[in-house]
Symmetry: C2
């Protein structure tokens, strides 16, 4: 394999257009101080030669790398990929993130990092040193890991925290968990439900608490109690089973359950079945995520959609623009919506 050089470099363009390298550079970077005529001439050469700048060279000379790094939790991501249960978080991030990057001449790269590892810092340094990204997207549970956020803050690397609305460095951007949980609860209240159980996510994810808050708020407003109606899971199927079991084994069992992930809702569905309960006849179910599988279950699940693509897209935009404009102080909220399907319905007659 021959030592590969750039086919067309800025030099070729400069020679072709009969100008200096800098002028070409200015045109590429849309800098001022180039006469329109000159600019047109250079652009013509660029087009004719099919010139595209090398991001390595751009990066080397101290400018941008045109790379955005999306950091995901290694363990969870790999487990999801291997399980093949239809979770499409990564796909949706790519859909939103990659395409927006592409529009702006950037590329998005995925990096897997262990949150719990004691050498997070080493992993991060490695990725940053090797790639020198212009921006970083953090996903839960990284978004609120002080080791990780601190790392980027110290180094002045722009980063977005998806699923976090804490104050602090970095752009906080959430999917409106509190209001989404309210939405789900209200949907059930509208159907006459009064005992609405909630299967929350793990503590490690701050959105878990926000969802609980939303649910409680809606219940309070309706003058209903939420005592003993909340259980925790870890988003996984088994934990959902356990939680659903606890809630449905109560004397006065809930007539509806809101679960913080599709897997946990699926688990609740299975538990209900095992208890001889009809869904939605005896028990209404509302899910969170709205991943592909919810349409293939029987009944299909009513679910709060998580607008991951839109969120990733917004994060990319804010990161790319963070050089020019100041980033928003307040958390950015990209709201989801409730998709009503067959798993929720009227409260069963007493």
């Amino acid at each position: 394999m021959a030592r590969r050089r750039q086919a067309v470099t800025i030099k070729h363009v400069a020679a072709d257009a009969g100008v200096s390298l800098q002028t070409v550079s200015r045109v590429i970077n849309e800098e001022p101080n180039v006469r329109p005529a000159m600019k047109a001439k250079v652009q013509a050469s660029i087009d004719r030669l099919g010139y595209v700048p090398s991001i390595a060279a751009q990066r080397m000379s101290g400018s941008r790398s045109y790379l955005i790094l999306a950091i995901n939790d290694r363990e969870r991501t790999i487990a999801d990929w291997k399980a093949r249960e239809g979770r499409d978080w990564v796909d949706q991030m790519l859909l939103g993130g990659m395409l927006t990057c592409a529009e702006r001449g950037y590329r998005m790269l995925i990096e897997l990092v262990d949150t719990h590892s004691d050498h997070v810092e080493r992993e991060l340094s490695g990725a940053i040193a090797a790639l020198q990204p212009d921006g970083v997207i953090l996903t839960p549970p990284h978004s609120e890991n002080p080791l990780i956020t601190g790392f980027f803050a110290e180094r002045n690397i722009p980063f977005a925290r998806i699923g976090s609305r804490q104050d602090g460095p970095g752009i906080a951007i959430t999917m409106g968990d509190r209001s989404n949980a309210r939405l789900a609860t209200q949907h059930l209240l509208d159907h006459g439900h009064e005992r609405i159980g909630f299967v929350a996510g793990p503590d490690e994810f701050s959105l878990s608490k926000r969802r609980i808050d939303g649910w409680k708020a809606a219940m309070d407003e309706a003058g209903l109690s939420h005592d003993g109606l909340c259980e925790r899971g870890d988003f996984g199927f088994d934990s959902g089973k356990l939680a659903a079991h606890k809630l449905l084994a109560r004397d006065h069992r809930p007539t509806a359950l809101i679960c913080s992930s599709d897997q946990m809702t699926l688990a609740a569905l299975e538990v209900a079945r095992a208890m001889g309960l009809d869904v939605p006849g005896d028990l209404s179910l509302v899910s969170f995520d709205n991943s592909p599988i919810v349409r293939f279950t029987d009944p299909p699940l009513t679910a709060v959609d998580q607008p991951i693509a839109a969120t990733a897209s917004r994060a990319v935009e804010l990161l790319i623009d963070s050089g020019k404009e100041p980033s928003p102080e307040e958390p950015v909220i990209v709201t989801g919506e409730l998709v009503v399907r067959g798993s929720s319905g009227p409260v069963p007659p007493a």
Copy 2:
């Protein structure tokens, strides 16, 4: 945002270890001609300072970029992501490709390219010029697009063609389509089926033909006719419906159908239902892909698994090693397996 420079460079390491840049470079790249003692000293400095080479600088100096580019069909990929129907091709590529890249110090990057565009070449040049990848993975239908394969061949950029077994430049690597189709057919023959229909994929994918060949071969061997038992689809749901309809409307309708994608199988299931046929009682169904949804349908689908992760992983290895070792002449085959579930069973009594 301050002009960001590399925190720790090769210079720092050299100074710290009291050696020349070149010696450090040799240690990094595991080149010969460094005494163990020297090597240890340098390595110690590297570790202490937490030095990681900048891939931009490495690339600039004419060495590798440590980047592997996975090129997917833009239209199909985006459609899949938006449809959220559980196709996890990209995830499986990442699972196999990214992790293997990571093991070897490489990164994998996804690039979407329009096969049908008249400026494919421009798109490719752009990606190559910007990123300078050390290797490229082509997925169907790019794998056999001469414009695309020619592009990389001309430029001496190592590339793998997934799903292609044509001769020619680049590493051909398939998932054993012919033998997989045989496997599926044999499974049905073993259950006594004699009229086994086949819904093939589009012509554009060479694997479509290979699967047909495998099915025909198995049928021939069993002394059975395959006349009029093959229809074409485009892997999508609607096309599957059409094809299944044609096959099942025949006088002497097939007792089993093999469909070349999960979506088409799902469509066949729907058509069968609409005709009042029980699956697998009246009609057995075997699918290709084994994507997440097949476990959530009723009945779950018997399917030929496509070992995408293993294939991507193998492709990455072959690409990375293509500098040192010669690439295999013969097509590499990563075989899939048949996962038997509820959609296939004994032939119904005549």
